[in-house]
């Protein structure tokens, strides 16, 4: 009888078990270059804690410094007790279509207290995120050379920060092409496409970062 139960159990496990899938948040973010703010409504979200474990449940923005998110609240479901999550407690939060990273407050030092940064694009090799000190456009045209080559949409952030190999670089709307070429020069396939000026422009930064990540190892 024991042997029979064991055989049945193995049959059931064999038919019903599936391979565990590795979860990744790469190649996601929010494609618009207008400034994104973290809301305070309870929504389904995921938090990756500092030890690598994952919390799936309801998440919301909790405390703010000015317009910048300072901490989140997490609960498994409505009615459960919520806990506060600060930047020091986690590495990544997925909330309301946004990817929010926990990075050093002083990006030049790379150590010390951490802060939340909202990403535009989160990639395996190159990540682009909102510059907390960026100016916001009121709309219009401008250029570094004076020939009105760059147009701005209202609410558009005029600079972003790029994280690549642990190094931070600034990407500004006026000098985007030069700055982007500098940090992506290690990808030949990507560099070939930068001659297409209709594609290689500041407003397309999300798709540009995506193409860099997808072709990095080709």
């Amino acid at each position: 009888m024991r042997k029979l139960i064991t055989i049945i159990a193995f049959l059931c496990v064999g038919q019903t078990s599936t391979a565990q899938e590795g979860r990744t948040f790469y190649n996601s973010g929010n494609s618009s270059t207008t400034k994104k703010y973290v809301g305070a409504s309870w929504l389904q979200g995921t938090i990756i804690l500092a030890d690598g474990s994952e919390l799936n449940g309801q998440v919301r923005g909790y405390s703010y410094k000015g317009n910048d998110i300072n901490s989140f609240r997490y609960r498994l479901k409505k009615g459960d007790k919520a806990r506060t999550i600060k930047a020091d407690d986690c590495t990544l939060i997925s909330y309301d279509g946004l990817i929010i990273l926990s990075l050093p407050k002083n990006l030049k030092k790379k150590t010390g207290k951490r802060k939340f940064y909202v990403t535009l694009y989160y990639g395996e090799h190159l990540t682009v995120f909102q510059n907390p000190k960026a100016q916001i456009s009121e709309g219009g045209y401008a250029s570094a050379s004076g020939n009105n080559a760059v147009s701005f949409n209202e609410g558009q952030m005029l600079s972003f920060l790029a994280l690549k190999n642990g190094e931070i670089s600034k990407l500004t709307a006026l000098n985007f092409r030069k700055q982007m070429r500098k940090i992506t020069s290690d990808n030949k396939k990507f560099m070939k496409r930068t001659s297409d000026k209709k594609w290689f422009k500041y407003g397309n930064i999300y798709k540009i970062a995506h193409y860099y990540n997808q072709t990095k190892n080709q």
Binding site: I7, S28, S32, G97, Y211
Partner: protein, 180 residues
Amino acid sequence: MKPFLFIISLFLFFLVKAQEKNLEFKYVQTDEKKAIVGIKSVMNSSAFVLNNKTAAENYEMVYGIIAKKYDYPEDIILSATPSEEIVIQEQAPGLYETKSMGFVNSFDMSYNMTFLTRDGSIECVLSDMKLGNTAAMTENMEGLYLHRKNGKPKKTMKGITDLKIENYFNSILSSLKSEK
């Protein structure tokens, strides 16, 4: 004898369950009712294309179809594992359509599709279907409300909205079937 028959029937049960494969995308009415909007219909999230190819051949075929459609297939590929899967994110202009008093209203949709390439089959899994195509204006689509609360079909949608979406995704399956 009885225990032996029990094991066999249990095994067959799981085998049959594993073989249930949708071969097309289709909206099916549910029992879920929502105030004002009506009765929800949902589409199966995955469908299969069956063939005699290996997983590697199926992978190359899927990649080839994407490369034919886009000059830069990497633009829509979110991730790719050779011989296993390709995940894409695509925009479908005007896919959501309704008709009212002779006027057609259409909205763009975006979606993720995972092509799981295996020996003998490609499983196409739909996810993250959204209405709207900009980061500022998207709404998750979990289903369509094709019927009123009293069960009567909505003339602006039934046979229009669902059919257009079904045909679009089934055409993807057809292109995989007809590719040599």
